[in-house]
């Protein structure tokens, strides 16, 4: 009986988180189009609903009713599996993200502000996010098209190159909080803006942000889907719902990496000042995530796309050494701090 209730609550929690994330994904596309057009002195979507507010709905319906085409030369099984292989890792990471501080107590049932708090949360997210690259690579290969294949290859190269500095940048917060659990990490940053890891790890934060943009194939690192060279990159041959899966995955990944950035560097749901703690933690969390998402779009409107060799050189020759040095320095400082604390 008790197990049944636990399972039911967990399933409902998963459904709620999934619903919220997918709604955010839908309106993130809208926000992106609106912010981009504002920055380019345009209006953006205006036709569906007031100020185009129902545009994501219309887009979704359109994609849903579109014909699902599998190219004649494609490998059908892998072609069908690839979008799912991309979307699932993007959504699965939200399982460990702590959205708020307080659990909701209804009778004997405790509803936590996260689906689960496993003690290797960050490792889990990193592992799954690199799984997403397989979907892109396989989708590009299975399409049997040169543009898709090139897009997939580029994506694989890019994700592998930027996975390393991304992981190394997160080592800083892990060392400081002495935990891989996202909840512990957030708690370790409590007490004010000066306790946030962005203050003690600014270099790691910048590296993380750059790598996160590269990981999610966003501008200025959107070479896998560079439309001026590769039509649409790895999803050139995709249409209808399969295409929308790739799209959902891209935006879900954006939200996920923003969530991790907020947890690891911006104090999660912690208020910036102890005096501001009367505002619910979830509001702080969402505000920070929204700011980072806005930053992503802002950057997209500002910076042009890199050349591929520039991207690779930047990843291996600049990001990786700086990340390594950062890990080294952080470890040394942390070691001596611990020594000092023990005395």
């Amino acid at each position: 009986m008790e197990l049944g209730i636990t399972i039911l609550v967990t399933v409902l929690q998963i459904a709620a988180v999934l619903g919220v994330v997918l709604t955010h994904v839908a309106y993130l596309t809208y926000a992106e189009r609106k912010i981009l057009s504002d920055m380019q002195d345009r209006l953006g979507p205006m036709e569906v609903g007031p100020h185009g507010l129902l545009q994501p709905l219309a887009d979704g319906l359109k994609l849903f009713f579109k014909e699902d085409i599998i190219p004649a030369g494609a490998n059908k099984i892998i072609f069908s599996a690839a979008p799912i292989l991309v979307l699932v890792p993007a959504l699965i990471g939200f399982a460990v993200v702590p959205f708020g501080r307080d659990s909701l107590q209804i009778g004997a049932i405790e509803i936590t502000p996260y689906i689960t708090d496993i003690n290797i949360g960050l490792l889990y997210i990193l592992a799954f996010s690199s799984l997403g690259a397989y979907g892109i690579l396989l989708g590009g290969w299975a399409s049997n098209s040169k543009y898709s294949l090139l897009g997939g290859l580029r994506s694989a190269a890019q994700v592998i190159s930027y996975e390393l500095p991304l992981g190394l940048a997160l080592v800083g917060p892990i060392l400081l909080s002495e935990s891989l659990s996202l909840t512990d990490m957030t708690v370790a940053q409590g007490g004010g803006i000066w306790r946030w890891f962005i203050v003690s790890q600014p270099v790691a934060f910048v590296i993380y942000m750059i790598c996160a943009i590269a990981e999610t194939n966003r501008l200025p690192f959107d070479l896998p889907e560079a439309e001026s060279e590769l039509v649409a990159g790895f999803f050139t041959e995709y249409s209808g719902m399969r295409f929308s899966f790739f799209f959902l995955a891209e935006y879900a990944n954006m939200i996920l990496v923003s969530c991790i950035a907020v947890v690891a560097f911006l104090g999660g749901w912690q208020a910036p000042l102890p005096a501001l703690e009367f505002i619910p933690p979830i509001v702080w969390f969402l505000a920070k995530v929204y700011f980072l998402l806005f930053f992503y779009i802002w950057l997209r409107a500002t910076v042009p796309r890199l050349r591929f060799d520039q991207l690779m050189a930047f990843g291996w020759k600049v990001m990786l050494p700086i990340a390594l040095v950062n890990v080294l320095l952080t470890s040394i400082v942390k070691y001596f701090l611990n020594q000092w604390a023990e005395k």
Partner: protein, 193 residues
């Protein structure tokens, strides 16, 4: 590389500048978009839109059926069939005036050619239609468009009135016929010389 340059590179100075510019445009940028069907553009006065026919202030059409517009038209889209008016002999009008808007190039030569300024370029530019035949415009259509775009009409010249009165007075009694003296000129025969 000086220390200043290194510092600028480390804090992504140029990218920050770019971010500042885009942010400025987001907050203060003037939107260039025109919400077209709901928001019409303001056209300059010299706009050469659809050619229309005009009327005098008493509602009579200006066109005298001279077909100079037909002669001036470079794309041969105007056809004028001219006739004499029943009630006013010597006064001509266009019995049938057709302007094929599908072929019109909006050059305005016909407007320049018209001796009585019966033609004008309007600001009508939304000529899209599902039936191409609607664009082959007869006199009625052209006058209707002219009424829409040129509500202020020119006053009918007085000399025309005088001639009307002249004809009205003399219709019953018969028109005066000018006397032309007949002069017989002998025709020279071939081979007479």
């Amino acid at each position: 590389m000086t220390g200043k340059e290194l510092f600028k590179k480390a804090v992504f100075y140029e990218i920050l500048q770019g971010l500042g510019l885009t942010f400025k445009h987001m907050l203060f940028g003037k939107t260039m978009t025109e919400q077209y069907p709901r928001e019409k553009p303001s056209l300059p006065d010299g706009w050469r839109g659809a050619i229309v026919q005009l009327r005098y202030d008493d509602g009579s059409e200006k066109c005298v059926g001279c077909a100079l517009c037909e002669a001036a038209c470079p794309s041969h889209c105007i056809t004028v069939e001219s006739a004499e008016r029943e009630d006013m002999p010597q006064k001509r009008y266009s019995k049938r005036y057709t302007l094929d808007m599908t072929r019109c190039v909006f050059c305005g030569f016909c407007v320049q050619a018209c001796p009585v300024t019966a033609l004008a370029s309007s600001k009508e530019y939304e000529l899209a239609t599902t039936d191409k035949r609607e664009l082959i415009m007869e006199m009625d259509d052209l006058l209707k468009l002219g009424d829409k775009y040129f509500p202020i009409r020119e006053k009918r010249p007085q000399y025309t009135e005088d001639r009307f009165n002249f004809f009205k007075q003399n219709k019953a009694s018969g028109f005066p016929v000018a006397h032309v003296p007949v002069v017989n000129v002998p025709i020279a025969k071939k081979g007479a010389a």
